[in-house]
């Protein structure tokens, strides 16, 4: 029953998921980009710092070179190496070439030709370490001597790598922090966006069946068209429900009043005619009227119960009192057939339920029993607690055994119902009411004879 109320909704994706995925996905991409940018930039800065130091070192070596008395003299200034010292104890190497000939230093260094006045930088690997190599040359002129002095200085990059690691770690932290912040922000944003929607849905869902008033709570401007449409829809629904209820009441009135007229006249006429065939015709007429008015009434009741089953008007009720009231109302009919209508009930059996529906279900069961009970027998109605149930037992022919499970189906009448007025809806109504209350209708034929209908709630 519940499924039917909530209805099957055709969904395509989820607003919440779309928002979350795009916001968090965006945060991830942004965080990675941030990390890469910071890291690259930091690496460039660190590299250019090392390059400047290397270049300063080379310059100081080159500057110290001079041609004295036609001989080249190169003095390696202390500062040229001291500026290269780092915290990580990076190793450094140098090599000096004159006109391409190795002059001094570390002889296994790769020598590159560079135009004078320009420092050329290279990266390489040596002995398992990354190496930054700088080469520059200077043309020296002294007397008749012209020579080109070329210096290569190389330094391992341990310190640089350390610095880069630190920066990377910080950049990663920064990226992660950014990601975390963005995620929180997207959660909040999603929540803030979805909340008015869920609040509206909850407030519509919480409403009672009869509550078709427009939604009054303020909603964000973007939702105004939806709520406006909903309000106008509910307005139309409420109007059409009112109209159809009024229509049903009016239709019942219009149909039943003339039927009552015909029935009364037929009864009166029956008292006056003696001819057997006329009497039979009149009796058939009255029976047809009873049958049609009963069918109309039960169809209407059945429709109302099917409609209400989804929206029970539940309250705490005293089932004993409710049954007593009904039995008092039905006793005159039972007395006409000389059938005893006995109530056996525990005091004050309380239950949660829809009083009118439960009474209607019981009325149908008792009505049934009255129709099949032979003269001068008894019908017992028991109200029992734990579990709450009502048993209606008669001493008639009993339910037809082979159909006992199908009797509660719509318009299904027992094969032994010949000559008894009925619409085939009575047990269906009782069964529907029981189901709507989470219970069931069980039909049995007790061993001692008769029929027993148990309505559990």
């Amino acid at each position: 029953m519940k499924d039917r109320r909530e209805g099957k909704v055709n969904t395509s994706g989820s607003l919440r998921n779309t928002l979350m995925v795009s916001l968090i996905g965006g945060a991830v991409v942004l965080a990675v980009i941030l990390y890469l940018v910071v890291r690259t930039y930091a690496a460039q800065i660190a590299q250019s710092t090392q390059d400047r130091i290397l270049s300063a070192s080379i310059t100081s070596i080159l500057d110290a070179a001079a041609i004295r008395n036609d001989t080249l003299s190169v003095e390696l200034p202390y500062s040229a190496f001291s500026i290269l010292s780092t915290q990580a104890d990076d190793r450094f190497f140098y090599a000096i070439y004159q006109d391409g000939e190795f002059l001094s230093g570390y002889d296994r260094m790769v020598h590159a030709q560079t135009p004078p006045g320009e420092v050329r930088f290279e990266s390489g690997r040596y002995d398992g370490s990354d190496l930054r190599i700088a080469t520059a040359s200077r043309r020296l002129v002294g007397g008749s001597e012209r020579t080109t002095l070329s210096v290569t200085v190389a330094q391992t990059q341990e310190n640089l790598a350390g610095v880069l690691n630190r920066i990377s770690r910080n950049a990663a932290l920064l990226g992660f922090g950014f990601f975390a912040l963005m995620t929180l922000l997207s959660l909040w944003l999603t929540y803030a966006t979805i909340t008015p929607l869920t609040r509206l849905a909850a407030s519509v869902q919480r409403r009672g069946a009869e509550d078709l008033r427009p939604v009054a709570a303020p909603v964000p401007a973007e939702m105004a068209p939806l709520v406006g449409a909903l309000n106008s829809f509910m307005g139309r629904l409420s109007h059409s429900l009112d109209q159809s209820e009024e229509f049903i009441a009016e239709a019942a009135h219009r149909v039943r009043t003339p039927l009552a007229t015909v029935r009364s006249y037929a009864e009166t006429t029956l008292q006056r005619v003696d001819k057997l065939e006329n009497r039979q015709a009149l009796r058939s007429m009255v029976r047809a009227i009873d049958e049609s008015s009963r069918a109309a009434g039960q169809l209407l009741d059945h429709a109302m119960i099917t409609f209400r089953a989804d929206h029970l008007n539940k309250e705490t009720l005293n089932l004993t009192e409710l049954t007593q009231e009904l039995i008092q109302a039905m006793r005159p009919i039972a007395e006409m057939k000389d059938v005893e209508l006995d109530l056996m009930a525990h005091d004050d059996v309380q239950t949660e339920g829809d009083a009118i529906l439960i009474q209607n279900a019981m009325r149908n069961l008792i009505d049934n029993a009255l129709k099949y009970a032979p003269f001068e027998t008894a019908i017992t109605v028991k109200v029992l607690a734990n579990p709450t149930r009502i048993k209606v037992r008669d001493y008639g022919p009993g339910f037809p055994v082979e159909e006992i499970d199908e009797l509660a189906t719509r318009f299904r009448r027992g094969t032994n119902s010949d000559g008894i007025i009925g619409s085939g809806l009575g047990l269906t109504i009782a069964s529907d009411v029981a189901t709507a209350h989470g219970g069931s209708l069980i039909l049995t034929n007790p061993a001692e004879g008769g029929a027993c209908a148990t309505l559990s709630l």
């Binding site: 209820e245 049903i248 009441a249 019942a252 009135h253 149909v255 039943r256 009043t257 003339p258 039927l259 009552a260 007229t261 015909v262 029935r263 009364s264 006249y265 009864e267 009166t268 029956l270 008292q271 003696d274 009497r279 009796r283 009255v286 029976r287 009227i289 009873d290 008015s293 009434g297 209407l300 009741d301 109302m304 119960i305 008007n313 009231e325 109302a329 006793r331 005159p332 009919i333 007395e335 006409m336 057939k337 000389d338 009118i356 529906l357 009474q359 209607n360 129709k371 003269f375 001068e376 000559g419 008894i420 007025i421």
Partner: protein, 221 residues
């Protein structure tokens, strides 16, 4: 008995009235709430039959007026609506009983009797024939002053006979009154009830005689 019938449909009102006249009742008919108030303010009735949908308003407003004046004339509401769709218990509104249209007159009689019995109010006199008396409201038969317990059908049969002593009732007439329309019983079923009544009447001066081919009659010995 004197009834006030409040019903706006003239055809139905005529049909009900003629059916009730047949049972020897007197019926005043009001078409509107206004008229109904006037009738009930000026006349004495044993029972009021009230339609709930009337041209000048809801029959329930008549009920309120009626109860406000502290009258204890019982009211049986005749409704064309279903109790499930109405969701209002008419009994809560001060009616003594209600019936859904179309209704069975025998059932109406039974309900009237039940309501009157509960209210102990009726202008119906106790009928006496010989040493047998019958109180139609209490449904009490007395033979030589001693109460006799009758079943409902025996009671209704006896009421018919004692209301018109010396009149012959055919089996079919008696069947019509005793059995509802959904009960297909043979006319001979009536013999069982006649037999029982005769047994109850044995010590009295009253007897039921059989008139071959015609029916039964209540006679004094």
């Amino acid at each position: 008995m004197k009834f006030l019938l409040v019903e706006d449909n003239l055809d139905l009102a005529n049909a009900v009235t003629s059916r009730m006249l047949m049972d020897g009742h007197v019926v005043d008919h009001a078409e509107k709430i206004e008229d109904a108030k006037l009738f009930s303010d000026t006349g004495e009735y044993d029972l009021i039959l009230l339609d709930i949908m009337l041209p000048d308003g809801d029959g329930r407003s008549f009920l309120e007026h009626h109860r406000a004046k502290k009258r204890d004339t019982p009211v049986i509401v005749l409704t064309a609506r279903s109790q499930v769709s109405d969701r209002i218990s008419l009994l809560d509104l001060g009616a003594d009983d209600y019936m859904t249209k179309p209704f069975d007159h025998a059932e109406l009689q039974a309900r009237v009797r039940a309501v009157l019995r509960r209210n102990h109010g009726s202008s119906q006199p106790v009928i006496t024939v010989g040493d047998v008396s019958f109180d139609p409201v209490a449904g009490q038969m007395r033979v030589k002053g001693a109460p006799v317990k009758l079943r409902n059908r025996e009671l209704r049969l006896f009421e018919l006979l004692i209301n018109a002593p010396n009149q012959i009732f055919s089996k079919q007439k008696l069947c019509d009154r005793l059995f509802t329309f959904d009960e297909d019983v043979s006319e001979n079923a009536i013999e069982v009830y006649i037999g029982r009544l005769r047994k109850h009447l044995e010590p009295s001066s009253v007897t039921i005689t059989t008139h071959r081919g015609l029916g039964y009659r209540l006679d004094q010995r």
